[in-house]
Structure formats: C-alpha cells, structure tokens
Amino acid sequence: MSTTEQTSGINAAVPDKETQLEIYRRMALIKQNDEASRKVIRSGRLMMPYYSQRGQEVIPSAISVNLNADDQICTIYRGIHDMLAKGVPLKDLWAEIAGRVTGTCKGKGGPMHITHPASGAILTTGIVGSSMPIANGLAWSFKLDGSRRVAIANFGDGASNIGAFHESLNLASVWKLPVVFVCQNNRYAEHTKYEVGTSVDQVSKRAIGYGMPGVTVDGNDPFAMYAAAHEAINRARDGEGPTLIEAMTFRFFGHVFGDDDAYMDAGEKAAWVEKDPVPAFRAKLIETGVASEEQLSALEADIAAQIEGAIEYALGSDFPPVEELTRDVYAEAGAA
C-alpha cells in the first residue's frame, strides 16, 4: 500500500495483545451487527434506509482504541460502525433505528442521525462532507478549553470532492486544531467509481495543499490502521494540529440496502470479499496465540446475544408520543 507519508516502520506503534483482542471485538461487533441489520430489514421487521458498513470494520475499530471516552467523533449516514466502535450502546442504537422513544434520539433522528454524547458520538450527518466543518468546531472547543481532547471526522472518498472538505482542512490547519480527518475510501461514491469523480490518485495527496500530514493506509489491516491512527491522534493531542488519513477499504454491498449493485465491478468486489478483514484478523489472532478459537467463539456468541437482546429491546419499546413531533425544535422555555 503506497503512502504519501511513511508512518509504518520502526517508530510505528504496535497494539499490544490486549488491544489487538479489543480491536477484534469491535470488528466482530460491527460485522455481526451489520449482518443482523440486513437480516432484520430483509425480514420486514424494520423499514429504514440502511448503509451497510460490511468490509469497513477495521477502520473505526483500530482508531477508537486510541481514543478516550471524552474524545468526540462526527460521522455520516454510513456510520453505525463508527458509532459502535466509539461505544454507543447497542440497545439505544437499535431503539433509535427502530424509531422508538427509548432510542438515542427518542426515535426522531433515525439511522442517519445517531447522536450519543455520553459516548462521544456527537454527530451523524446525512449530508456529504458536513461531518468535517462541525468536527472542527468540536476540536476548536477543546483547544479553547486547553484540554488534550481530540475530534475525529469520518467521511467517504466521494466527500473529498465537496467544498466542505476543502474549507475544513484549510481551517483546521491554519488554526492547528486537534482533529483527525478520516477518509474511508471504499472506492465508490453511491454508484460512482472513485476515479470517475476524483482527480487525484490518492485523496491523501490533497493534504499537501493544506500543509498537513497526509497518509494513505491499508484500512483493512488492523496494525497499519492502528499505527496511522495512533500517530495522528497523538499529534492532535500534543497540539501539533490535524492529519488527513486515507484508509483504503471496500464496501461489500450496494450503496444502500436494496440497491442492485450492477454498477460495481463484480471481479473487484469478489477479490475484496475474498480478503474479508474480519475472518483474516481472527485467524491471525489465533495463529499468533493472542486468543484461542474457543475464546473468540465465546466472544462472538456473547456479541450475538447482545445484538439479539438489543433488537428485542428495541422492538419491544414504545414509539414516541406525538407530542415529540414538535418538541426539541427549540429549547424548552426557560432553558439557556
């Protein structure tokens, strides 16, 4: 994997065994949750626009183990993996996706607008590019506070072509904000191949135009992703400013649940699925003695149970009362 800036190599941070296991746990959680989501929709038990994150599990898993609870993230409609990795509770998440009052946002936001400040999950936007200007604002508040907190802005390869990307990276650089821009390059923007919409072979090269370090990393390699995130997050914490990380990955399914993905190159897709990062990392953990087959099976079974419980909890919860329709448009009278 070529990189505009070398991050791997001797000073590359390596996750210890415990961290490796935690990265895998988050990957498995995301993979199993995505499978459960598609199953639930297919079964007709829930109706929602769903953007599968299958194939992109490594990125948020390897990033989030470098974050504290009070660090904050902004993500996009295809962001449930980012949210789960940051710690949004499964029950609250599922209840939101099911439009129930017990959801993170009382069912009013839905799958495209998950917010859970307690986990540092501040924004899920449905507008391409808009996670970045707001992540800058979170980072600006940390700088004003004089804290060492960090903000992460997740977005896709297609989003790197919209104006908000440009304005955000420029401002973050001139203000030296503690923010990391994570471009999850899954090769497609809806139905459009990367090269059809993007004028540069690597999004990370755009960092040069903002006097900011930029790196292209294998987003499906937990070690490479961990090292890149570790370096960028520490740079931000130390007040040395933002970094652009381009994490190469692939979307295993169509843009949104239900779209026929005829526009995708079947061979390309097959090759990526072949290298599915989740079973690959699982095998590596066993092979390197980080964990045993039994251990991982137990962990997966536990996740499966949690997901089932969350779905039951969600479907068993009430819908919001109709008064909620006009509540939260403005703060309750008297608030300030």
Partner: protein, 332 residues
C-alpha cells in the same frame, strides 16, 4: 376521438420528456451525480438509458460537488446549451444556493439581458419514506421568493412530462420539484403530449362551495379530502397549481370568486410557506368576495422526524384539508 395514450409512472414520464427534448435539440445536455448508465442511470432511474442513447458527452455523471454541477450548467447555458442538472435531493440545494440564487437567477438582470441562463434543476424530496430530517424538506418557498427563478411541482405523470418539456424549452432557470412518494404513480399519458405551459394551474375537480389549492403530491390528498367532503354534501373545487412561480392568479381568483372560500395546502411547514403568499394575495384582491377566512394547511413547524408515527403526523393528511374546508364553511 381520444388521443392514443400510454401508461407511465412519474419517473418514466420525466425520462421521456428529457429524451424527447434531447432528440429534438442537440443542445440539451444532462449532468448530475450518477446520472449516466455506467453509474446506474440515476439513483431512482429518472435518467436511465439517456447516456446509452445520446452518448456520454451529453449525459455526464459528476463528482459530489453541487456548486460545480450548477456552475457548469450555468456556464454552458450562457453559451447556448440547455442543461438539465440533477441535485439528487432538495436539501442538497443548500450547498449550491450561491450558484442558484446569486448567479442563475440574477445573471440575466445584472447583465442587462445579455446573459440568460436556460437551465432546469431537477430534484426529489418529500417525507413518508423514512429519510428523516435532512432528506425530506420542501423548500419551494425559498425559490419562489427569488426573482429570476421559476418553480414547478407536478403531481401527475402527464403534468410531469408536459411541464418538463416546457421547463427545458424555457429561456430562464427552472426549479423542478419531484416528490419521491409520487414517483410510482402511474396514469395514461397521451403519446403525442405537447409541452404544458408553465404558469398555468389546472382545475382537477370542479366544485362550488370551497376552493382547495395545492401542488405536488398533496394534490392527491386534496382530492381525497374533496371526496370526503362530498359525502357531507360539500362541493369542493380542487386546483393543482403545477407552477408555484409564476402562479396562476387568474385560475385561482376565478374559483374563489365562485366559491368565496379558500384552503391552501402543501407539504412544507405552514409558516412562511407558499400558502401564505396565496392567502395574502387572495384576501388583498378578493376581499369582498371572501365569505370566510382563508385557511392554510401545511406541516407543523418542526423538522421531518424519522419515527414512523411521528412522520405520519408530520405529513398533511386528507382529514386536515377537509377540516380546514369545513372551518371555512362554519364561519359564514
């Protein structure tokens, strides 16, 4: 003798209109995200088949860059092309408002008539499909308040095709609003349909007691309300505005002169919406002809919610339109 017709849904109707315009005029070009066939011919297929038929030069998929999309359309239009630009969803016009409002709408005026901008900006929107807060807004009032723009919002396949033909032929920028909920609506459309002029409303149901003015998919709900009212012996006239700016004052005035009562219904939030302009104008022009206060029906002043029951409560229902009509009948 009735003209030969063909059943079309609104997606097919708009697709046919663009295809006929491209066939007739080589200057008609299409651009937008995923519009070419290699990218699936549009996320809902409105432009499907066009690039295969007319070539990749005339039908171009773009990066996710709405300012660049509208800007490219403006520049090409100034030099004689007739671009049909797609902004996938109406909420995404928010990233292109400078190009639409400060440029497309104003360049003819600011240049003293030297540079016209004959573009069509197509977009879909509407609640009811669980797209929630940032993908469902009806923002037509913003564009109707912008001198230099025309705003069109059809409710049937025939109108969608006929109005798109006129929008493409129009010398000025046209905002063309498509309701996602209505795309599947099928109806027979005359095979040799001629362009339907912009600025002309259509009386879709005649009545004598109260006038209901609406546009886009809410017209269907206004007709349902009229059917409900008929059971009560109330005869409602329903007008499909079709073009929001310029709107057809004559047709609306003629109806209100007859009924003396008016209800305006639309999907957008009621406050500061299009209904306000129509109500304000009618009370000003036909004050003495009014038998009751004009009623407006629109969404409550809130964002579009995700949760199904809240979303249902958000969208204007036939019952609300009927209630508004009943209210105009009480107070006389």
């Amino acid at each position: 003798m009735t003209a030969e017709t063909k059943k079309l849904n609104i997606i097919q109707a708009i697709n046919e209109a663009i295809a006929e315009a491209m066939e007739a005029n080589p200057k008609v070009v299409v651009l937008g995200e995923d519009v070419a066939d290699k990218e699936g011919g549009g996320v809902v297929g409105v432009t499907r088949g066009l690039s295969t038929r007319f070539g990749d030069d005339r039908v171009r998929s773009t990066p996710i860059s709405e300012q660049a999309i509208v800007g490219a359309a403006i520049g090409a239009a100034i030099n004689g092309y007739r671009p049909v630009a797609e902004i996938m969803l109406m909420n995404f016009t928010t990233v292109a408002m400078d190009m639409i409002v400060n440029h497309a709408a104003k360049l003819r005026f600011m240049s003293g008539g030297q540079t016209g901008v004959p573009i069509v900006i197509r977009m879909m929107t509407g609640a009811g499909i669980a797209s929630a807060g940032q993908h469902s807004d009806f923002l037509e009032a913003w564009f109707a308040h912008t001198p230099g723009l025309k705003v069109v919002a059809p409710s049937t396949p025939e109108d969608a095709k006929g109005l798109m033909l006129s929008a493409i032929a129009d010398p000025d920028p046209v905002i063309f609003i498509e309701c996602s909920r209505a795309y599947g609506t099928t109806a027979p459309v005359p095979v040799d349909l001629k362009p339907i002029p912009l600025g002309k409303a259509k009386v879709v149901r005649e009545g004598s007691d109260v006038t209901i003015v609406s546009y886009s998919e809410i017209v269907v709900r206004a007709l349902a309300a009229a059917a409900e009212l008929e059971k009560e012996g109330v005869s409602a006239e329903v007008i499909d505005l079709r073009t929001i700016n310029p709107w057809d004052r004559e047709t609306v005035f003629a109806s209100v002169r007859k009924t003396g009562r008016l209800v305006v219904a639309h999907e957008a939030v009621k406050e500061f919406g299009v209904g306000a302009e129509i109500a304000a104008t009618v009370q000003e022009e036909l004050f003495s002809a009014l038998k009751a206060a004009i009623k407006r029906v629109g969404a409550p002043f809130t964002s579009v919610p995700f949760s199904r029951p809240l979303e249902e409560a958000f969208i204007v229902q036939p019952g609300q339109i009927a209630d508004a009509a009943r209210a105009t009948l009480k107070t006389n």
